[in-house]
């Protein structure tokens, strides 16, 4: 809830500051002179400042709630309690009662610390001590060293003077004490608002781990090999899918027999998510490369076939007529009219297919693989290496984005006439 509030606050504050600044700068272009902008989609252009602030905010939030060393300390959300705290408990046995002090050392998880030595003190209840790691909690058997223990009928009846019964909780310095069902105090250090590194490591921790994985690899393969395997599978699967799918789509667009024969198959297979095919492909082809490439081939095949088919159907009949009237043969029409005319559609299909293939390969590697981006994050999650999981997700996103950019660039270079017909 608090992170959301902070996020909304930054959003609103940035909006007011930026719009004020921009208005102050007096930027006047054509769009700024439009009086009707609400509902005019062309007047809505992404605000560059908003984009930059948005990305910075994500990292800022990430840093705030992980206590990142990249941020000055005053920006951090309150962290977990660290240090030595004490509380007293009151034990009652045989009608007599006695107080004793418990000293607790709360230490970071990675630094193992022993419970400090304490003076036992007077009375039948002796002073205790314990060491508890941050984000953990610990039962403190306070009666262990007492002259009258639980077996002698001694019970803890109050903590810091506040009476307590099993199941109840009392706040003390640096945390809370809850009495267990059997009457043993359970000390839980204050967690603060930061995320435990196990759930969300700080940005610099992810970066450090990335460097480490780049230099020394993960599970017998280097990072480049993991990502390379995923990319290799996508490219091979996609290329085979396109090599089969495009001619199939052309045949479906040009022949009524092919259209009739393959329409039911293509229309049925298209809505089947490739992920649903993973179990069957594993049964048939195992978890090796063949299975993954078959899966990606199937993911790309239908998309490419449909793109090629609609590319052919999208040819304006007047263009075909014109070509015939200019003396072109069927083969020449195919080569000079139908194929170039369908290229924009095929490129759109290829972009979609590459996106689907990339998603599918990661999912398939999550299920079973010896190397690959998906396998890397799945294995890391089993060993609670959250930093590797986050690194993997970021890299998968970057590569997916890169593939899309590359396809768009290729599209601009190779089919500049797209949408100009």
């Amino acid at each position: 809830m608090i992170p959301l509030l902070i996020y909304v606050t930054i959003f609103v504050a940035a909006f007011f500051i930026v719009t004020k600044v921009v208005q102050g700068a007096g930027l006047k272009d054509y769009t700024s002179l439009k009086t009707v902008t609400f509902g005019d989609e062309s007047a809505v252009r992404p605000n560059r400042a908003a984009g930059i602030i948005s990305i910075l905010t994500i990292f800022l939030m990430w840093g705030i709630f992980t206590g990142s060393s990249l941020l000055p300390g005053f920006l951090h959300a309150p962290g977990p309690y660290e240090g030595t705290t004490t509380f007293t408990y009151t034990a009652e046995a045989n009608g007599q009662s006695d107080d004793a002090t418990v000293t607790v050392v709360v230490h970071p998880r990675e630094i193992s610390t022993d419970a400090p030595e304490v003076d036992p003190g007077d009375g039948f209840a002796k002073n205790d001590s314990a060491a508890i790691a941050q984000w953990r909690s610990g039962l403190i058997r306070v009666d262990r060293n007492d002259e009258l223990g639980r077996d002698d009928g001694a019970t803890v009846v109050a903590v810091n003077g506040q009476s307590i019964a099993p199941g109840q909780t009392v706040a003390v310095d640096g945390g809370t004490v809850t009495l267990s069902d059997r009457g043993t105090p359970n000390f839980e250090p204050a967690k603060g608002w930061q995320m435990e590194p196990l759930y969300l490591p700080a940005p610099e921790a992810v970066w450090t781990r990335t460097i480490e994985v780049v230099s020394s690899g993960f599970r017998n393969f280097t990072l480049v090999e993991h990502l390379g395997y995923s990319l290799f599978r996508v490219i091979v699967g996609f290329v085979i899918g396109a090599l089969v799918g495009i001619p199939l789509g052309y045949a479906m667009g040009l022949s009524d027999w092919f259209r009739g024969w393959f329409d039911p198959i293509v229309e049925f297979m298209r809505p089947v998510p490739p992920l649903a095919l993973i179990p069957l492909v594993i049964i048939w082809a195992g978890i090796g490369e063949a299975g993954k490439i078959i899966l990606l081939f199937l993911a790309a095949l239908w998309i490419m076939a449909i793109a090629a088919r609609s590319g052919v159907s999208g040819v304006k009949i007047s263009k075909v007529h014109a070509a015939y009237s200019l003396g072109a043969s069927k083969w020449q029409i195919m080569r000079h009219v139908i194929i170039p005319n369908s290229l924009p559609e095929i490129f759109t299909g290829a972009r979609v297919a590459m996106g689907v293939c990339w998603g599918t390969v990661v999912a398939a590697e999550l299920v079973a693989a010896e190397q690959g981006a998906g396998m890397m994050i799945m294995t890391a999650s089993k060993f609670q290496n959250t930093d590797i999981v986050i690194m993997g997700i970021i890299l998968i996103g970057v590569i997916g984005f890169g593939i899309d950019m590359l396809m768009r660039w290729a599209e601009r270079m190779l089919v500049p006439w797209k949408g100009k017909g």
Binding site: K316, S318, K319, H321, A322, A323, Y324, S325, L326, G327, A328, S329, Q332, H336, V337, P340, N341, L343, V415, P416, W417, K420, G421
Partner: protein, 268 residues
Amino acid sequence: MTGLSINSLSMRFDLPNGSHVQALQDVSLDLKAGELLSVLGPSGCGKTTLLNIVAGFLAPTSGELILNGHKVTGPDAERGMVFQQGALFEWMSVRENVGFGPSMKGTPKAEKDETVDHLLDVVGLQDFKEKAVYELSGGMQQRVALARCLANDPDVILMDEPLGALDALTREKMQSLVLKLWKETGKTIILITHSVEEALLLGERLIVMAPRPGRIHTEYRLPFADLGVNADLREVKKHPDFGPKREEILNMIWDMEEEIMGGKENAA
């Protein structure tokens, strides 16, 4: 014998609901080589069907088509076509578009380049040779389409409202260009148009078609095309016969339209 003869052409489309449309009934027409025929008529009179049959894209249900002594059975380079718009190949440059026909025939490059250069000069697009066609204005695109058609040196040029999508000024310039090309090349041209004025200005012969069934209603022989070859088209429009002819044909087409609407009202 040279020229195009259309012998009692009929075209009937059977509709899925069992009824049918008689798009053309018993249309006969003889065109000598080098004649320019313009075709007018209300929508649904079968003008475009007629043109598609002459081009060879459609086979008539009965009747036949003889061009220069042989029967027409399908599309061929001897009959070039200029469409209203959108029939250029946008993946090719202006030069490649114009050179498409010769390329398909395998004409040697030097000869093809010469033809293309000459035609681009004729239509005034020499400076736009390497441009992509989608970078050109509508009028320029139609000039490319004309040049592309001429590059193939067809015997007959079929024009399906080639100037219909152009603005009035461009249209007038293009009309002069069509007349000039017609005179210079001596091609047989069939021009379909919706504009009575254009049909009068360009058509050496003019037929008005009537709908349901599609047939030739009236035929004219006109002097304006010959006048227009050497004079400003605006001067031609001042010819004493021009106004009355235009009124006559407009009224004729108007009456046909009224009849169609009336028929519909009665049916309803």
